[in-house]
Amino acid sequence: MSPLSAAVETRSLGCRYGRFWALRDCSLSVPAGSVTALVGPNGAGKTTLLHLLVGLCAPSAGDARVLGWAPREHPLLVLPRVGFVAQDHPLYRGFRLSEMLTLGRRLNTRWDDALARERLQRLGLPLDRRVAALSGGEQAQVALTLALAKRPELLVLDEPAASLDPLARREFLGSLMEAVADGGLTVVLSSHILADLERVCDHLVLLRSGGVQLSGPIEEIVAAHRVLTGPRTDPASVARMHSVIQQRHSERQTTLLVRANSHVYDACWQVGEVDLEEIVLAYLGLGMPAAPVRREVAS
């Protein structure tokens, strides 16, 4: 199996329920081996996108390729290689953990039972405990264990840490990173918790209801954006050279967040770096763009 450069590729992917488009014009590429963050406001279609990637729903427009295949048309070529944890990590509440493992063993062609048992043991979860008796963080870990025991090439997580307290979240992400450290795994996870994403992810996709607004390696995104501070003025001259993502004016001062198309030389402005959280928040705060925003961050 030749390695693909992109674990996931979508082209103008869209999904419609009746007249309502849950996802629209989504084009992205997730590099193999990356840990990619999927961020966006509620209603942008993050969950729909992730569901499209694992074949839970079918595209109404465009197409998606996961590990080289369309997940809805070739489920048996995709599902065994993809681990998925849905929002709120659904598990069968009455099952014991040993029975959850039996489920995984029977419903999967590729299943590493030893890995699952070892992982649960390391987490301190006895096999005869029922799912309903576990805390939220423990349930999330069990769901992750089930996904990892498939030895997947791609892991798709829908807000995996959303309902977890900070400690459980840290443990979950640490556990996830251990799995990534073992190698051969691409991760796509959606989350609202931006601080977590900056630690854990190396790629970002920012999705809004009009499509993908921003995508690329996080390092390059951070390097490409700058905060300009200066006396109150019209940003038109700056806007000619760079994309102004956000502008704030006070009585005496103007602050701009720009995506610089080239190095920013301007004597009027004080130029500073900006962290990922600020960048993402600025994009989330954008109104609907009049023209499609250039997608890829140039390296």
Binding site: L79, A86, E99, L103, G104, L107, L146, K150
Partner: protein, 316 residues
């Protein structure tokens, strides 16, 4: 997948088994008792030969077990209860979202759906079969007395199988659309009751055109066997079954009481008035069973097909 379905249904299946065991525990001892009383009082020979003292014996037998028969008639709700037990885990899975776990292992949605629906249908049929066998056996003495179409139709034979599968299909279809278990079960129960009332009450008499018979005097000697038949209507008519115009005056002339319907037969006959009945003979029992079962099975299949389409296309 079979293991998973069984494991998910385990609790509900055991409850259903317990219900059936309880049913047997009630029906078998009482059924044996009724049968032995039937034999001792020689009801069977009474019905065949109508010796003197038979009407009393029959009356006594009926009075003695009136309460018990009434109680057992309530068991006609069992198909609904069993169906809900068997189909509820399916609705729960759709409500709690655990289907997203099952559909993203390594099996196709089609295999998941097929396995589940086949096993649910098989379970429903099996439970209904056991229930029907028990009740049909229990009711044998009463069926001889002539209650088969009346209180027995819905509890005996293959009709309960149709009811049970239909109710299960209702729970499944409603669970798929509503994605909430409690309303699905509630609405399914309502739909189940409405369907049975409408079909049993309004359609069943018309499965076949009923027979019409006229006679004079006691039907046991000159008329049709109405004891075991399903009587739709009984009145006085002319020789062809049509209404008689001046019936009240004729009745007065013959000194008959219209309400009694068995007046002075020869006098009435002279005036062209006969006893008249519209009925379905006992021989039609199994035909009607087949038709009603087929109707409910057909409805179940339609609901099942709808549920399959909905789940394949509209659930994610």
């Amino acid at each position: 997948m079979i293991w998973l379905t069984w494991r998910q249904q385990r609790t509900e299946t055991l409850i259903a088994v317990a219900l059936l065991v309880a049913l047997a525990a009630v029906l078998i001892p009482t059924g044996l008792h009724v049968a032995s009383v039937y034999d001792q009082a020689r009801i069977g020979s009474c019905l065949a030969q109508d010796t003197a003292g038979c009407p009393d014996a029959l009356g006594a037998f009926e009075n003695r077990f009136e309460g018990l028969l009434g109680l057992v008639t309530w068991f006609t709700l069992l198909p609904g209860i069993l169906a809900i037990l068997i189909a509820a885990p399916f609705a729960i899975e759709l409500e709690q979202g655990t289907f997203r776990l099952a559909w993203t292992q390594s099996i196709t949605r089609r295999r998941w759906l097929t396995t589940k629906l086949v096993l649910i249908a098989a379970g429903a049929l099996l439970a209904a079969l056991i229930m029907s066998l028990l009740l049909t056996w229990w009711r044998t003495p009463f069926d001889q007395l002539g209650n088969r179409f009346d209180t027995g139709f819905e509890s005996e034979g293959i009709v309960p199988l149709g009811y049970t599968v239909f109710a299960a299909a209702l729970v499944i279809a409603l669970g798929a659309v509503l994605r909430r278990t409690a309303p699905a079960i509630g609405l399914a129960l309502i739909g189940f009751i409405v369907a049975r009332v409408v079909i049993g009450g309004f359609l069943r008499p018309h499965y076949l055109a009923p027979l019409s018979a006229t006679w004079s005097g006691d039907p046991a000697t000159t008329g049709p066997d109405l004891r075991t038949a399903w009587l739709i209507r009984q009145d006085l008519s002319d020789a062809h079954g049509n209404a008689v115009h001046n019936l009240p005056s004729i009745a007065d002339a013959c000194g008959s009481d219209l309400a009694a319907k068995f007046g002075d037969a020869s006098c009435l006959a002279q005036h062209g008035v006969f006893n008249h009945a519209i009925y379905h003979p006992a021989s039609r029992f199994w035909l009607f069973q087949g038709i009603e079962a087929a109707i409910f099975l057909g409805l179940a299949l339609a609901l099942g097909a709808f549920a399959v389409w909905w789940i394949r296309d509209r659930v994610s």
